[in-house]
Amino acid sequence: MALQEIWNGTVSFSLVAIPVKLVRAVETGRVSFRMLHRKDYSPLARRMYCPKEEKLVPPDEIVRGYEITPDKYIVITEKELESVSPERSRTIEILEFIDIKDVAPVYYDHPYYLVPSKGGEKAYRLLVEVMRRTNKAGLAKFVLREREYLVAVKSTDGALSLITLHYSGEILPDEDLLSKVGTTRSREEKIESEEKSRMKKIIKEMTADFNPDKYADERRKKIMKLLEKKAKDKGTVEAPEIEEEVEEGVVDLVAVLEESMRKVKEHR
């Protein structure tokens, strides 16, 4: 089965640049269904509906609101959101190498594979091999679909895998967790080919302890800052009250009850 390519670009560190493609490593086993119109099986579409006006709302009338309390929002435009989104990038820039064992499983978000693009095969195999032998993983920042991810690039069964990691701010507090981040160990190394040892040397130079606190979700920070600013400058907006629609049957029931209640009160 041909793996679906999600992204292509290069993995780079120091002076090395390896052209790669990003492909999915897992597919959820969930069985999904399409909603169809029973009478002729036309697939159905979702539309935005305003319960107050009881009608469909066209896209140009829709804005985003960040809910601060029920029915109270800060309005954010598409433009404002774009202004805080990271630039799409063509590189997975490895910032440092860490010991993969130091990354607690709770940080793992979603796995992908990197496959070599034309011309990158040799360097790719080299990196796979060296990372395997040294038990190291590259830590990189990477923009996928408007979000900047912290990712680990590591050697898995002769290929490179890429795992998106949670930012430390997303991990629910666990006092013991950060103490689990240990130190890297050096290893006995044999003399190998010049290229290999050069790559190893770079990795060694770039090796650091895995310290997830160093990285933060920049976009989230920016959005929150933007929201604070907007709330201060422009204030919030409030949703109108929606009168609860009373079903017709109930209206009559209530009328009968009120009438009965009136009679009861007369007699008491």
Partner: protein, 301 residues
């Protein structure tokens, strides 16, 4: 360990821990509990019959932990009648307390309180009654409940519906409107009871609320209409309650409730085990009609 083999309807039952004090501050042992249920059996059994029992067990008495058990314990004797009902996660086997020996077996498990749904296990979607669960909030008491119950009775009578009241055995009162026609669904009875509760709230806002929130219940009687639900259970009439003293959920005639409301003594609305047995001996089951009276729920469309 006190153990005793008894025979009920020709079936042998081994009763255990008979000397265990299940109401320690009152001195009411498991033997007393079994004796109470044996003497009230004729009255309570028709109300338990064919309904999925929820056991509320107090193995170490009312002052220690309890647990609810909806599934019929697997170690049950072969003669215990059961039914399969659909629960949140698939089918579940429940106990049906249809005879004295099952009642005694259930009480030997220290299930002081017996809770049952408003519908029978065989027709789980059609309740036999509408219920109004009157629950006093902070700074309100059972006398306030009685006042609301009397207004509720009058309102229902205006709609040609007879109703029956019982004490919860704790702080509240329960008003039952028998239907017994297998017509109305829980959706219907819930809608009706909610509308009734809201009308009472609108007309008597100083003493009635139809809202669940604790803060809106202060000094008021909360009419809990949401009990009209296939997933909910009510304390069975004549069941003991697990409080300090062995009180009972007990039926009261409307005239009696009027008199007690005028006397303004909330204690008189707490019926104890001994009073329950003697009153049932004298007056029979005042809740019998709840099982048999057929009434049509008003259906307005």
């Amino acid at each position: 360990m006190s153990k005793k083999i008894v025979e009920a309807a020709g079936r042998r039952l081994s009763l255990s821990n008979l000397n265990k004090d299940l109401y320690p501050s009152y001195g009411f042992t498991k033997a007393h509990v079994l004796e109470y249920y044996r003497r009230i059996a004729d009255s309570i059994l028709p109300h338990l019959k064919d309904r999925a029992l929820t056991l509320k067990r107090y193995p170490d008495g009312t002052e220690k932990d309890f647990f609810f058990e909806k599934r019929c314990p697997v170690h049950r004797p072969a003669w215990v009648k059961t039914a399969k009902v659909i629960h949140n996660e698939g089918p579940m086997t429940v106990c049906l307390v249809n005879d004295l020996e099952t009642l005694i077996w259930v009480e030997n498990l220290a299930s002081l309180e017996l809770h049952v749904p408003l519908a029978k296990a065989g027709s789980p979607e059609t309740p036999d009654s509408i219920v109004f669960d009157l629950d006093p909030g902070d700074k309100a008491n059972i006398l306030d409940c009685a006042k609301v119950a009397l207004i509720l009775r009058d309102l229902l009578l205006q709609m040609q519906l007879e109703s029956y009241a019982k004490t919860s055995g704790k702080k509240g009162l329960h008003v039952y409107v028998p239907l017994n026609r297998k017509e109305a669904t829980f959706e219907d009875t819930k809608r009706f009871s909610k509308a009734v509760a809201e009308v009472l709230q609108r007309n008597y806002p100083e003493i009635v609320t139809a809202k669940m929130a604790k803060e809106s219940r202060i000094k008021k009687v909360f009419i809990n209409w949401s009990q009209n639900d296939s997933a909910k259970t009510m304390i069975c009439i004549y069941s003991l309650r697990a409080r300090e003293k062995p009180t009972v959920s007990f039926p009261l005639e409307w005239e009696e409730l009027e008199i007690l409301t005028r006397q303004r003594d909330p204690e008189k609305l707490l019926i104890m085990h001994s009073e329950a047995v003697s009153r049932v001996g004298k007056n029979g089951d005042l809740f019998q009609e709840v099982l048999t009276k057929e009434q049509k729920m008003p259906h307005y469309l």
